[in-house]
């Protein structure tokens, strides 16, 4: 009976929108099966986590009240008085962190498998922008509960942004909505977090997914060299989708476990006039940058250490995000080794500095 209804619906839509060619195309989509196939799932996990963020975020939006007199209280209200409020809040916070983590994993796995190569350059670029948007999502969302840690983390973060030469001060002013971190900052971050970034993210995500669907899954070099009959493939529908579902269900369970056993703290309400608490730390995905800036000496090559650090990261970021365009200029025989080394150095840099930041 279910099948009949589905067929009828399909026919109704096909008459009007000619969806058969599309369905045909999708039903023939294949996914290569090889020793690195596991990494194919990472993007999907990131997507799933994004969906969780949207759903839990919209729910929280129903009760959250921005404003320095109500933000903290409304989050407290959600976690104590609203039915399952504690659950959705902790899910939202944990899923946010996991999403950034999986975006990084997805990015590095596509890097090491050289997925960014032609014809997939724009997939890499849109992905890079999505990474930046995810970080900005995290940064803006972090302030919304208006607690002490968030307040000072935002202060320090926007101070660092302000250290960029020439454009730094205007950027800081635009971010903060004023000189210091105030209710105006909260309003802006709220607008960024629930309107601006979701809009931009959705557009870019749509493009990113469109490119992936249009071009199909990338085959790593060693796989490409195999004869056709030796290439093991699995159909996207239903095999890969079911496996995706399995993994997503597992991830959901992990998030629920974290939300129940390690609920997210409410903290202490922000007080602009209180002194900064000991050991303010940014969120973990900014830690490596933060620690690097801390370690730089006061002056390097006639410019302030901080400025040098920011420029370094700006340039490093640009280099990383334009990888598809300049890696072609490296000699064929060196390319594989060099890019691998480059990737390992980047990961090591991030890992070591993050750990160092927490030990400090």
């Amino acid at each position: 009976m279910l099948k009949k209804t589905m067929q009828k619906t399909y026919h109704w839509l096909d008459e009007r929108f000619k969806i058969t060619p599309l369905v045909e195309f999708m039903s023939h989509k294949q996914v290569p099966v090889h020793k690195h196939s596991l990494w194919y799932y990472m993007g999907g996990v990131a997507l799933f986590l994004f969906v969780i963020q949207v759903v839990s975020g919209i729910l929280l939006l129903l009760y959250y009240q921005p404003g320095i007199d109500s933000a903290f209280e409304s989050v407290q209200f959600i976690t104590t008085k609203v039915s399952f409020g504690w659950l959705f809040r902790s899910v939202h916070s944990w899923s946010a962190n996991l999403m950034v983590f999986f975006v990084f994993v997805h990015m590095f796995s596509t890097f090491f498998t050289r997925t960014y190569k032609k014809p997939r350059e724009l997939t890499w670029v849109t992905g890079s922008v999505l990474l930046l948007l995810s970080l900005f999502f995290g940064f803006s969302g972090y302030l919304l509960p208006w607690n002490e840690l968030a307040f000072f983390a935002t202060k320090v973060g926007t101070d660092i942004a302000g250290a960029i030469p020439f454009i730094g001060e205007p950027i800081k002013l635009l971010l903060r909505g004023g000189e210091g971190v105030t209710g105006a900052t909260l309003s802006r971050f709220y607008a960024f977090h629930v309107a601006l970034i979701p809009a931009a993210f959705t557009i870019l995500l749509f493009l990113h997914l469109l490119f992936v669907q249009r071009q199909g899954m990338h085959e790593p070099e060693f796989f490409q060299k195999l004869p056709e009959n030796k290439k093991r493939m699995m159909p996207f529908f239903p095999n890969f989708v079911l496996r995706d579902a399995l993994l997503w269900l597992l991830v959901l369970n992990v998030i629920l476990y974290l939300a129940v056993f390690f609920p997210w703290e409410i903290g202490v309400k922000a007080d602009a006039f209180a002194p900064a608490p000991q050991g303010i730390k940014p969120e973990w995905f900014f830690m490596f940058m933060f620690q690097a800036l801390k370690l730089l000496p006061a002056h390097i090559f006639l410019m302030e250490g901080e400025v040098f650090g920011i420029l370094f990261f700006a340039i490093a970021g640009t280099v990383w995000f334009t990888v598809p365009f300049w890696s072609v200029f490296i000699k064929e025989n060196l390319r594989l080794k060099l890019m691998k080394l480059f990737g390992i150095i980047v990961i090591a840099f991030i890992l070591i500095l993050t750990i160092w930041g927490y030990l400090d």
Binding site: D69, E73, S74, F77, F84, L249
Partner: protein
């Protein structure tokens, strides 16, 4: 046998999926229903019907974590004041015989308008707004200026 096993699996999967959906939707719908106290920042509290409050009496109302003293004076007029003494945070009380507000900890005395008259309290008690809406006494936070 294979068919039976498949339909068994499908049945489990199907029902599992439905159960899973239910376990998502139940908390979501529960969440959507507003709790009894619908707002985070308590802006106003209902103190009861005007006829139920005797003259020359007082009660404590809870504005979130802040206690507020509602007094009905002998004249019938209502006064609402923050109930936390401005000296060392004890809870003040209304004295029916003297018709003033008193802090038992160190003998601080306030007038019904909240003015600190005698004893250690350095500041007056902040005033709350009292309105009568449909014979119901409603106490609310004063409007913030600026």
């Amino acid at each position: 046998m294979a068919i039976n096993r498949r339909s068994f699996l499908n049945a489990i999967l199907g029902s599992g999926f439905v159960g899973w959906l239910g376990s998502i939707f139940y908390p979501v719908f529960s969440f959507l229903v507003p709790p009894k106290m619908p707002e985070a920042n308590v802006q106003s509290v209902n103190a009861g019907l005007i006829n139920d409050i005797p003259l020359n009496s007082s009660q404590i109302l809870k504005f979130g974590r802040t206690p507020v003293l509602l007094v009905r004076a002998q004249s019938g007029e209502f006064k609402a004041l923050a109930a936390t003494c401005t000296h060392l945070d004890c809870t003040v009380q209304y004295r029916e015989d003297r018709q003033d507000i008193w802090c038992a900890c160190h003998n601080g005395i306030y007038s019904l308008a909240g003015r600190n008259l005698a004893g250690p309290p350095p500041k007056p008690l902040s005033q709350y707004v009292v309105n009568i809406v449909d014979k119901e006494v409603v106490v609310s936070k004063p409007k913030q200026i600026g």
